[in-house]
């Protein structure tokens, strides 16, 4: 038999939960950031433990292995420097041709900032991660987040020292994308597929789109959130939907979202 104080405690807990649920979006985001600060001591603890583990692993790494890695990194660095020189030459040529034609400059140099993934969404039905870059580092809502493989998502909520990133395939992360085919067809990248979470639906492609498996998909630049040309993935297959009104293609993402450790935030 329930007693009165038990009713009161249960009622209070339910009322608090309902009050939290009925908060407006901005207040709920602030509440979540405030509650998330409960875990700050644990962040520090984990960071210190990782640092200690890194130092310990470096201390026991054999010298021959270090020399091998150093050599590999030196070669990769030389390759990248050559590629950067080539890219700079192409950019100069592009700028000269634009000046001759009187075209406006479309792209400015990207201002990227490295961030570490510190937490993943504990719920299985969302695709979000937390990164250690916050408002004090210049992070803002809706900034694009990418890796060297391609686009990862966008920043959804910003705290002082960390931010929440919604990843591609989450229902809250829609991206205007372009297929690199002859007609440059554009569509909207939506939620991940029901079986393979590395496959994401690309909706609203025109019926006349000429698609091939393996065609690259990049950001279109429409909508203003993501700059054009960031790689997203490759076309796997496609089918007509809504009685053939438009095509829906499945895109295999270029970035490995389940193994993210470090990401780049594209600052304005």
């Amino acid at each position: 038999m329930l007693k009165r104080p038990q009713y009161v405690v249960g009622f209070l807990a339910v009322a608090l939960a309902l009050a939290a649920l009925s908060l407006p979006e901005s207040a709920a985001a602030r509440l979540k950031l405030a509650l998330g600060s409960l875990f700050l001591p644990l962040f520090g603890l984990v960071g210190a433990a990782q640092h200690a583990a890194d130092r310990a692993s470096q201390a026991v790494l054999p010298r021959s292995e270090l020399i091998r890695r150093n050599e590999s990194l030196r070669r990769e660095n030389e390759q990248l420097r050559l590629q950067a020189m080539q890219a700079a030459a192409i950019a100069r040529e592009n700028e000269r041709l634009r000046q001759q034609l009187g075209w406006q400059q479309r792209h400015s140099a990207w201002n990227l900032k490295l961030a570490r993934v510190i937490l993943r969404d504990p719920a299985n039905w969302w695709r979000t991660v937390h990164i250690d870059l916050g408002r004090r580092d210049g992070a803002r809502e809706n900034l694009p987040v990418l890796t060297s493989d391609g686009l990862v998502g966008r920043i959804a909520a910003v705290g002082l020292m960390r931010s929440q990133v919604v990843l591609l395939g989450d229902p809250a992360c829609r991206v205007s994308a372009q297929v690199l085919n002859e007609t440059r067809d554009t569509g909207v990248l939506g939620a991940a597929g029901p079986l393979d979470r590395a496959l994401v639906d690309l909706d609203f492609l025109p019926r006349s789109a000429v698609l091939q498996p393996g065609q690259a998909v990049v950001t279109s630049g429409l909508g203003g959130l993501f700059p054009a040309g960031i790689p997203i993935g490759q076309i796997v297959d496609w089918r007509p939907v809504e009685s053939g009104l438009y095509l829906r293609a499945r895109v295999r993402l270029a970035a490995h979202l389940s193994a993210l450790e470090e990401v780049w935030v594209l600052l304005p």
Partner: protein
């Protein structure tokens, strides 16, 4: 004793939520994130009262929602419903039996995400659901079932190790001693 148990439960809930979000390993192997809060709620429902249960649901649930994209309060309500259901029938449950703890853990692990998803859908949210979700649900259920007896073991051990027990009084009284003669 109750206060100590409540503090221990809340600390365990915060640590469990942080571990779920910070550790990439179970998800990398199983393609599903396990949730330890339902197992803690089973322990709270069987071993403590309403105040501890409500505190666990509030702290654990809001902590979980703070690190997830859930609206705050969804996990709290789901945990409270599961905890209240078990608590209401706790006199009929063989709470010391590991098998009963396993079954209750499975039940809580299955119901909590289900209730959370129903709440999200009723709020007009669109959680990412598909055939993979069935596998994730199975993993959540089994992980919760397996972690419930472990939770009981750990908390019982903590109580034995950290909380002093009252010395039981003997029934011996010198004035009631029967003095026998030779025969």
């Amino acid at each position: 004793m109750n206060v100590f148990r409540a503090i221990l439960l809340l600390l365990a809930a915060l640590l469990a939520v942080f571990w779920q979000a910070a550790s990439p390993w179970p998800a990398r192997w199983l393609q599903a994130r396990v949730d330890l809060l339902p197992a803690l709620m089973v322990y709270a429902a069987l071993a403590t009262g309403w105040p501890t249960m409500a505190l666990l649901a509030l702290v654990g649930g809001l902590g979980f929602d703070a690190l997830s994209a859930n609206p705050p309060g969804v996990s709290t309500l789901a945990l409270l419903v599961v905890g209240a259901g078990i608590h209401a029938r706790r006199e009929l449950i063989l709470r010391d039996q590991p098998f009963a703890q396993f079954v209750l853990g499975c039940l809580a692990g299955a119901l909590t995400p289900l209730l959370a998803v129903v709440l999200l859908l009723s709020m007009g949210r669109a959680p990412l659901l598909g055939w993979v979700s069935l596998w994730q649900w199975l993993v959540l259920t089994l992980a919760s079932g397996l972690s419930a007896p472990v939770t009981f073991l750990v908390f019982d051990w903590c109580e034995r190790a950290l909380v002093g027990r009252h010395v039981s009084e003997t029934s011996f009284r010198p004035d009631r001693e029967i003095r026998r003669g030779r025969y």
